[in-house]
């Protein structure tokens, strides 16, 4: 069974098979619930909808606000990554992304231009583990573009765990669970945007996520040569790499690590993936492929 819906400005495609143990009706319910995961996370984490939990929280400065786990968890992961990378990866980057034209709601076409100066960083974001609250110490716009989709994929994968096999593919970031129709591992290709043969590498995957950050989709319409991954320290998009894929046990992890490594680049970016014990594949701007972790 295969279905596709739009969420988070991308197409989410879910393919699942029931195997012998499960009825088609039960499978259908699992798929519906898996799509619901995307709906919940989008409602909580969208930067493009003024009524999302995230944008409501961004209007409260200096006040601890209780937030749902749909926002708390991907924000916590993003903050851990921000600390780990000393701010090269930063969830406070929303305003900067808005200014580069990444501010259009994909369904309504409405654009968001927030009235904040963009000087705040992740250090101005405080989460309370005990109270499950968020407190922003300066006006800022949160951006969970590198964790929320991964988190939604992980929640969807959990709903599909009882299936014999499934793939949740959210516009090129995916989790593959169980096995395919032939009861083999899933074959996942890593796209090569530059070459005619299309695929950089094909991987055999089961119960793991593959996420790719790249500069070849989501280009800035405002600033030439820029794309949706921006370093807060330079205010610019790194262009040393074209694509960075990470394989991890969770999509939120693969998503955040591929984005953070892309932002850092070079040997340091590679070390970020290596040190976490993950596998990765990088395509550099001079068309070289770097493999990490014995792919």
């Amino acid at each position: 069974m295969k279905r596709a819906k739009l969420f988070m400005d991308t197409m989410v495609q879910i393919e699942a098979r029931s195997g012998n143990e499960m009825s088609e009706d039960a499978l259908d319910i699992c798929i519906v619930k898996a799509f619901e995961a995307f709906r919940h996370v989008e409602r909580a984490c969208s930067r493009f909808s003024p009524e999302s939990e995230l944008m409501q929280a961004c209007r409260k400065i200096g006040e601890a606000t209780p937030i749902s786990p749909y926002l708390f968890e991907p924000l916590r992961f993003a903050l851990e990554m921000a600390e780990w990378t000393e701010g090269v990866f930063d969830p406070a980057i929303g305003r900067l992304l808005e200014s580069k034209g990444f501010n259009r709601h994909y369904l309504t076409g409405e654009r968001t231009n927030s009235n904040v100066d963009g000087s705040a960083t992740y250090l101005d974001i405080e989460l309370s583990e005990a109270n499950r609250t968020l407190c922003l110490h300066k006006p800022l716009i949160l951006d969970l573009g590198a964790t929320a989709k991964g988190f939604a994929i992980d929640l969807a994968a959990r709903e599909l765990k009882c299936c014999a096999g499934f793939v949740v593919n959210a516009g090129g970031d995916l989790y593959a669970g169980g096995t395919n129709d032939q009861d083999d591992k899933w074959t996942i290709g890593i796209r090569n945007p530059a070459k005619v043969n299309g695929i950089l590498q094909s991987l055999l995957i089961t119960d793991a996520a593959v996420c790719t950050s790249g500069s070849y989709e989501r280009r800035s319409e405002v600033v030439e040569g820029e794309h949706h991954i921006v370093r807060p320290d330079t205010g610019k998009s790194p262009n040393e790499w074209i694509s960075c894929s990470v394989i991890a046990p969770y999509a939120m992890m693969a998503d955040a690590f591929s984005t953070a490594a892309f932002a850092i680049g070079g040997e340091e970016g590679i070390a970020l993936i290596e040190d976490a014990g993950l596998q990765g594949l990088i395509l550099t701007a001079d068309s070289r492929i770097k493999k990490i972790g014995g792919i």
């Binding site: 369904l107 009235n115 992980d154 516009g171």
Partner: protein, 154 residues
């Protein structure tokens, strides 16, 4: 190294558990048709002053009430590979769901989003899914707009 990796894995597994143990999943899922987004205006009528920093965060009160009839509307759009069909569910002027309704019948979904032909050939051979930089939903915007036009109150 292994220890370091464990920290991130634990963060991910507790994140999933937090949604379930808090009871969020059960209670939230009981509410049917939670809106994805409000329909503030048609996609063609965008206003943008990027970088000016003067516009305010949009107020949710700015939505026009009863612009659309509730229901599910089929919209068609096309790109260089053919037509795209979507089913758009609307409730209280909000889009609650957008399903790509017939891709399985006529073409691979990857045709729709404009994947290179070479990728498609390889895919049909043995690659079941492709990981790549996240593509946007621009290919679907005409079809969504077509559905919204049909939902407009006369």
């Amino acid at each position: 190294m292994a220890k370091m990796k464990k920290k991130w894995v634990v963060l991910c597994s507790t994140a999933i558990a937090a949604v379930y143990t808090a009871g969020y999943w059960a209670t939230e899922s009981d509410k049917s048709n939670i809106p994805v987004n409000a329909v503030y205006s048609s996609p063609s009528a965008t206003s943008s002053t990027s970088g000016s920093g003067t516009a305010q965060v949009l107020d949710s009160q700015s939505q026009v009430s009863s612009k659309y009839n509730d229901g599910t509307y089929v919209g068609m759009g096309s790109n260089r590979r053919g037509t795209i069909q979507v089913s758009v569910a609307i409730e209280n002027d909000r889009i609650t769901d957008v399903e790509i309704s017939d891709f399985a019948m006529h073409y691979s979904i990857d045709d729709v989003v404009g994947m290179p032909d070479e990728v498609l050939q390889i895919q049909s051979a043995n690659v079941e899914n492709v990981s790549g930089a996240t593509y946007s939903t621009r290919a679907f915007s005409d079809a969504v707009q077509d559905a919204l036009d049909q939902a407009l109150r006369a």
